[in-house]
Symmetry: C2
Subunit: 258 residues, 2 copies
């Protein structure tokens, strides 16, 4: 326990010295499994309170890189789809909880509690990751990191429920005018797999035949000779993303500055 407090002290000192004050990054990490859309959440030490993963920005670090770093630390993944969607800065962002109470449970000293209780402006990013490859890893302030079904997310700390809502809304909109799926599915997948992903994200069923036409229309899928046997009935073809074309289509509609 003394070790913990020492470590905490070091951490706070480190934050003050090497990280930007009053700004942070929060991540909505979407995964896909069992036909369900999932988000990765963290449970704060010694509490039953859950929240989104996030992090702070080093003085010498780009904002985007900071988001990538946090994502890597929580999931073990690199090179995945990550996109900024909104920046949150309401004074009452922290209204949902008795902030001080929760922070004290973590064993923070008074000074640190005060430090933490100030409103940060937080830049929201959302990520799409392949469920199977993720190794959920808690950080210093949390002792559990796991997937939650998107429909069963509890009331979270801060304004994190709002963040998830807006991230999902942005994701759905993005889905309707550009392809998504590269980092959410295994390397080889069937058309029904892809369709189920879309239906899960959009929350509605789609016509199988029209869906296939549209996906092939993007010109980003490569049909393999292989087929997926073992399921009941006719065996569907396996597909793979043509990464080069995929990136190209994505870039055309991207919001980012070149």
């Amino acid at each position: 326990m003394i070790e913990y407090k020492k470590e905490l002290q070091r951490l706070i000192e480190d934050f003050k010295t090497n990280y930007l004050p009053s700004v942070s990054v929060d991540l909505v990490i979407f995964g896909f499994h069992d036909g369900q859309l999932k988000v990765l959440l963290l449970r704060w030490k010694g509490t039953e309170e859950w929240c989104l993963p996030g992090g702070r920005i080093r003085n010498d670090e780009n904002l985007d890189d900071s988001a990538y770093r946090s994502l890597r630390e929580r999931t073990g993944l690199r090179e995945i789809f990550l996109q900024q969607f909104y920046t949150f800065g309401d004074v009452l962002r922290y209204k949902h909880i008795d902030q001080h109470e929760t922070l004290r449970k973590l064993g923070l000293p008074e000074e640190a509690v005060h430090e933490f209780a100030n409103r940060d402006v937080s830049v929201g990013y959302y990520a799409l990751v392949e469920f199977e490859n993720v190794v959920p890893t808690p950080d210093f302030f949390t002792d559990e990191c796991r997937w939650w079904d998107i429909n069963q997310v509890p009331t979270l700390l801060f304004d994190h429920n709002d963040m998830i809502s807006l991230a999902l809304k942005t994701l759905r909109r993005q889905l309707s005018y550009q392809p998504i799926g590269y980092s959410l599915l295994p390397d080889k997948f069937t058309m029904p797999d892809l369709q189920q992903l879309y239906e899960t994200i959009l929350g509605q069923s789609l016509d199988r035949r029209n869906f296939q036409k549209r996906m092939l229309g993007y010109g980003i899928l490569e049909r393999l000779e292989e087929r997926k046997f073992g399921g009941a009935h006719k065996a569907p073809y396996l597909y793979r993303f043509d990464k080069e074309k995929y990136e190209k289509v994505l870039a055309e509609e991207s919001l980012f500055v070149g």
Copy 2:
């Protein structure tokens, strides 16, 4: 001059006490005049360097409110279209200029120069305002505030050229799936006026007849009995936005959280 330095000292002290460190807000304020799209820029005191208007966030102030406040201070306008579009946080945001040199020209003390030279994470907002109603007003650090033609914007300080590009891109996209024009045009306007606005923003010409059909299709325009005489040839009708319906259509597609 002593008065100036004292005031500056006060300002810096005020920033340290009452404003969030390492975060700021920048505004891309679009206006429309003479068939040209304009942006409002500021010239730094004693230099020929131009930049976007912006501001800082008070400790007790919502992020959005801070943007509205800056906008009000620069234009004298309130209740206009303002929307967040991206947050910029590259370490090299300030690469475009010899930062220290420029800041020293402003008469900042060494300490303040160091303060200013650190990278801020900046939240970008864009606004649409009615050109005629704006009273361009410089702030403490600038001695000129005026409109620039969007095609003649010079190389700006920081990453402000990128900001304008991205704001324009976002505006164009927004234009294609929801009506815009309420705060950019005078109360009464003709269909050709509106079309010219669209063509200017999009940078391409549109079919006159199809444009009219689409605009009327939104159901947000009210045609008046009046017509606009004086121009050459046939006199076009005057229109006015039905604000209630306008807001309704706008709200349906908004990105913001309720």
